[in-house]
Structure formats: C-alpha cells, structure tokens
Amino acid sequence: MEKIKYLIIGGGVAGTTAAETIRQQDPEGSCAIVSDEPYRLYSRIMLSKPNFFLEKIPFDQIWLKQADWYIQNNIALMAGKKATALDTAAKTVTLDDGTALAYEKLLLATGSCVRRWDITGAEKQNIFYLRTLDDAKQIIAKVKSTKRAIVIGGGFVGFEMCDMLRLANIDVTLILREPHFWDPLLDEHSGKLIEVALEKGDVKILHNSLVKEVIGGDTVQGVALQNDIVLPTDMIVVGIGTYCPIEWTAGSGIKTNRGIVTDEYLAASAPDVWAAGDGAEFKDVILSEQIQLGNWANAQMQGKVAARNMCGAHEQFRIVSFYVTSGFGITIAFAGDIRPAPEKKIVTRASADGRFYGRILLKNGKLVGATLINGTRDLSSIVKLIERGTDLSEKCAELADPSFSLATLL
C-alpha cells in the first residue's frame, strides 16, 4: 500500500492551498490531493459570475493553477477519484477505484455539495444546479438556446444566476419559498431593496411559492406551483442550499455534525486528522461556538492554517468571514455571523435616500456581524471591529449614523 505523508481529500481552494502551504514547510514529504472532480484547481467563485458565464473573459482564466504546478511542487493530483472509506486506526483511506492509501497526516477538505430537488419531475433534463465546473459548462451551453428560465431560491446563487440570465437577455422568473429575498438572514427591508433591483432588471419574483411538480416529457416544459398555476420554461436553475458530504467517514470515529467537527486548531476528533473549508465545522475563537461557513476566504485561510498545523505548528484558526456580490446595480455584503438570534441587538445604519442600508449585529455589546446593501465601504472597518471585539454598547448612535466613519472606532 502506498504511504503518503500528507494526504489531502479535496482539490478545491482549501485542499490546494493546504498542499501549497505544506510544500513551503516541508519540501520533501510526499503529498497527494484526491479530488472527485476531473480538474485541477479552478475558481469556483468565478463560476457564478456573468463575465465567465457569458464568455466575456477567456475560459482558461478559470484555472488557478497550471497543470505543471503540481509536478513542479511534487504534489500528486489524483483527480476524478472519490474517497469512500476512512479507517483512522489503520490510518488509511480507500478510494472508489479500490485503491487504499496509507497516510501519516490527513486533511479532509471535501467541501459541500448542492442540495437536490426532491419533487416530482426533478429528474427531467434542463434542470441545473451550480457547484462544479461541469455544472457551469452545462448551463453555459444551455443559455445559448434559452428564451425563458426559472430560478429557484433566494440566496447568492439565485441572485447571481438571475443577473447572468438577464444579461443573456433571457426572461427570468425567480421563485421564492419565503416572503422576501434571503429571509430570514436578511430583514424585510434589505430583502425588498434587493427585490427592487431585481425587478428593475426585469426579473419577475414570486413570493411564498412552492413548486409542486416539474412538467414536461424528458425535458422541462414548465413548473406547476402548489396553487396550481403553471409557468412554462425552457430551463430551471435550482439554488436551494448545500450540504457536506460526510457520510463516507461514518464508522471512522470522527465526530461529525453538519460538517466534520474540529477544534480551534482545525484538528478533527481522531489523531492526525484535520479538516478545512466548507466541510469543517470548527470552533470559532471569536464567536466561541462551533460554526461552519461556505465561502472562499474562509476555505483558503483554513487550508493554510490546517497545513501549518499538519506540519507541526499549533496555530489557532481565526478569521472574520465575509462575502460580497454585486449585480443589478447593487452590492450585497455579509460579514461575520449574521444569523438572527433573540440575544443579538440589530442597529440599522442607512442613508436617508434608502440606497445604502446596513444592519449591524451586536452580541453583549460586541459587533459580531453585519449585512450591507450598497455599503461595502464599511466592510473593512466592520471586519476589524468584529476581530477586535471592541465593546460598542455605548456607540449605537454612532453606528446608526451613516456619515459617521466606522474607522474612527478602531
């Protein structure tokens, strides 16, 4: 059985950044990445962006590593293979082709998968999800022959897909289960601001709506809603969330919840096993709770820290997570922990004309998160204030004043 010093399961940004970091620490030790996609590292964040979708930038810009990077750095990329079993006592991982690999140190950077629709007719052709490069390739091909599209779900994927489809001049209907966009993460006012922008961009929005059934033969012809209204369509893009593929670790003794549970050093509950990226449910030292995040910055930083710890460091993972997107003439930014909770106080920070609308979430007087519509100028200060844990309980009036510079609180 081949023995690998540093075995990484997952070839996305967390796993690849980890391999790169390991090489900086240990130029000699054998290192392999197992990826269930048949590709080298690409920019998953770019997949949902209109410039990529509409082929306004060269396709090859998607690659973040050249093929020879792996060779030059002596990193074995085992692409198109899936890990199917983990034995933490014998320290082995088995792949779907039957190969067994022994490891000294193991990193689980298996990311997240899209949640699939489970309604009648969901198996028909021209229903798309967006997670992988292959998913994106299929959508890019279909967009060229589409007149009408339906987008399911109000989140980042739904927003960005609406933008791309409208730029491609396709009629778009967005179907939301909730009463407003991004409920309950965003309040009604923020959600409506996004919806006004979408509607200005000629996206039709249906609220409180559930699809009962997909209609058509082998291919999609429309959807029937629960109120029996039928909407014809050529394609459907479904963005209803993600889950972490952790079932293959069952029986390994590794503690899992929604993701792979780790401590603040990103170490899992078995010796010499770490986790990083979307699939890690880590102990957040800033929030003092177990959390799991699905974004690029977090995955990249976790890959770095986990790798340093695999090489013998004892470094806590510490990050304030953020995500920004734009489209339809607005920007949407989330920072820190934005989950609403009764113990969190929300300060509204908005301009008089209503164009800028921010919500600052405080817990025990400390800033823990923020949602900003057209307010990315505040993002950097907010992230630093979250990081520092400054007591702002006496500063609510200033936080609420959009002309007050948050940088002065630093």
Partner: protein
C-alpha cells in the same frame, strides 16, 4: 522575493470579492461598480496600474501586497518587479 514596483487590477476579472480590501485596505477599496481600485497618495483613487511609489508611504509591505494578490479568488491582481517581470501570478 523580488521587489514589487507596479500593481495592476484587471477590471474584467475583478468580481469585487473584497479579499484584497480585507488584506490591505490601505491600498485597495471597491468602487461604485464593486471593482477594486488602488488608493494613491493624497486620497487619489485610481483604476489604472499604479507604481508602488505612488501609494502612501508605508501603505503596505511587499509581503502584504503579495498576500492580497494571492487572496484574490479570480487572480485579478497582477504584481510586477523593477525589471517589469510579473511576480504574481507567477
């Protein structure tokens, strides 16, 4: 690492993910189109390539600039050395 002389943001590639802003907010910010621009001396902001000497003094070390460029999820930040050679992406 070679000394960094010039910083370029490719606006076609920039998606406004803000990772450069969070790494080096003395150098980068997002403009009204949600694209990264470069902060120069005296509060001037530029979407054009910038010489490092045009930044505020001590705005960022070469290491911080490299970290900012590496954090970009679309590799939209390009760094050049004194010989005009591209330092990142390498």
């Amino acid at each position: 690492m070679a000394k960094i002389k010039k910083i370029v943001v490719d606006r076609n590639l920039c998606i406004g993910a803000a990772s450069c802003v969070l790494t080096a907010d003395t150098v980068f910010e997002l403009d009204a189109e949600n694209k990264a621009i470069i902060k120069l001396k005296g509060g001037v902001k530029s979407a054009e390539p910038a010489e490092k000497t045009a930044l505020e003094d001590d705005a960022a070390s070469d290491n911080t600039l490299l970290t900012a460029a590496q954090s970009c999820p679309t590799r939209a930040i390009l760094l050049y050395d004194e010989d005009g050679k591209q330092v990142y992406p390498s």
